[in-house]
């Protein structure tokens, strides 16, 4: 089988590095070029030291790009929508990991991103990148937009409940605890070690942009009201979403189990984690480091109809590069787990 020749545009960031790590060991993919304007001519391992002795690849400039089978775009938000008309001449397929093409409604984009989308005509050409929701469309897609990390954890936790009309859609509250790698690899005063270490920083109590994706993807006809807050904590990778919803009927936990099993029983990367004993009774981000799993647990309040859903991922994997590779596998008819088999580490 001929390998799919792929190029990663904007490959010096954390997401790009994670994609390179995965693609180097993918049996049906070959990395043709990786670009970074700040690392042109340098070996990949200079930016991604974990890849030392794994590749002789060097960074190119975006101006040196050659044609290939698929482009992964890991450019900063807002940059891809300006460059994509040129970039799509280079490859018939594109997977964009930025936020530029996640939304299909320009008004929703304007509302949450506070700026006008400059490539509206392409917005509807992209398939939203969560395979568990869009697998069939991905099989024939040419353009896929990977979902936001916090949106991914939230959507996967909520999807079975909203789809099956089990909860009050007007009363959904999500608190995400996130690791520092969500902020990318550019340092700032806020990421200076004495300031950042040990901090529990409420960085987006309201107005988080990923809310827009949640509203779009969980739209089953009824108006949703989603209250999303984000807190960065002292970990590097990981998202833990704690989601509070209210059941329409007085369901038992066993009924909730059945709903999640119905929706996700055959999903290769979703696990229901809910145990009564042991150290890991509910999803735990550190066990998911470098894996493509989304672990989901839940607990019903004994005294009310409140259901608490706990959903966790590695933001750089299921929340970015892993999700993108899963989509790549689906687009090309490869076994969905190819290159994503790593089960994580314990202890860690």
């Amino acid at each position: 089988m001929d390998k799919v020749k792929v190029t990663i545009v904007g490959a010096s960031g954390y997401t790009g590095g994670e994609l390179i790590r995965l693609l180097l060991f993918h049996p049906y993919a070959e990395i043709k070029q990786v670009t970074s304007e700040s690392w042109v001519g340098k070996f990949v391992y200079k930016a991604h030291p974990n890849l030392r002795k794994n590749t002789e690849l060097k960074f190119s400039s975006i101006n040196e790009l050659e044609k290939c089978d698929l482009l992964f775009l890991c450019l900063p938000h807002g940059s891809g929508m300006k460059k994509i008309n040129e970039l799509k001449k280079l490859a018939p397929k594109i997977i964009d990991l930025s936020a530029d093409f996640r939304l299909n409604d320009p008004a929703l984009y304007q509302k949450w991103y506070k700026s006008e989308h400059t490539n509206v005509e392409l917005m509807k050409d992209f398939i939203y990148g969560i395979p568990e929701l869009h697998r069939e469309e991905m099989k024939t897609a040419n353009f896929i937009s990977s979902a936001g990390c916090n949106a991914t954890a939230s959507i996967l936790g909520l999807y079975p409940l909203v789809k099956n009309n089990l909860i009050d859609p007007k009363n959904i509250t999500i608190e995400v605890k996130v690791g520092s790698s969500e902020g990318g690899n550019k340092s700032s005063d806020a990421s200076h070690h004495p300031e950042r270490s040990g901090a529990v920083r409420s960085y987006q109590p309201t107005g988080h942009r990923h809310t827009a994706e949640i509203l779009q993807e969980l739209n089953f006809g009824e108006e949703l009201n989603v209250n999303l807050s984000a807190t960065s904590i002292d970990m590097i990778r990981g998202v833990l979403a704690t989601i509070h919803v209210f059941l329409n009927d007085n369901l038992e936990e066993k009924d909730i189990w059945k709903v999640y099993r119905k929706e996700y029983g055959n999903e290769p990367f979703i696990r229901i984690v809910k145990e009564r004993e042991g150290n890991y009774r509910y999803p735990e981000p550190k066990l998911l480091i470098a894996t493509n799993y989304c672990d989901i647990g839940f607990k019903k309040d004994e005294f009310s109809n409140r259901l608490v859903v706990i959903s966790s991922i590695d933001n750089l994997m299921k929340g970015a590069a892993g999700q993108a590779l899963q989509a790549f596998n689906i687009m090309h008819g490869f076994e969905e787990r190819t290159g994503l088999e790593f089960p994580g580490l314990h202890p860690i």
Partner: protein, 55 residues
């Protein structure tokens, strides 16, 4: 012979030699279950030690 897990509703398959009083573990939710009847097949939650991590 199949019973239903009382916690998560998963099917619990009995081996041919399963006997009453035997302890099994649900493969879905990990709950330890006690076989209370083989005909009809029925399991209940096995007693567990409670933990409270609050202060």
């Amino acid at each position: 012979m199949k019973a239903e897990c009382p916690v998560c509703g998963a099917e619990i398959e009995f081996a041919e030699d399963t006997v009453q009083g035997e302890l099994l573990e649900c493969s879905e939710c990990g709950t330890e279950l006690e076989v209370v009847s083989t005909d009809p097949p029925k399991v209940e939650e096995a007693p567990q030690e409670e933990e409270d991590w609050g202060q």
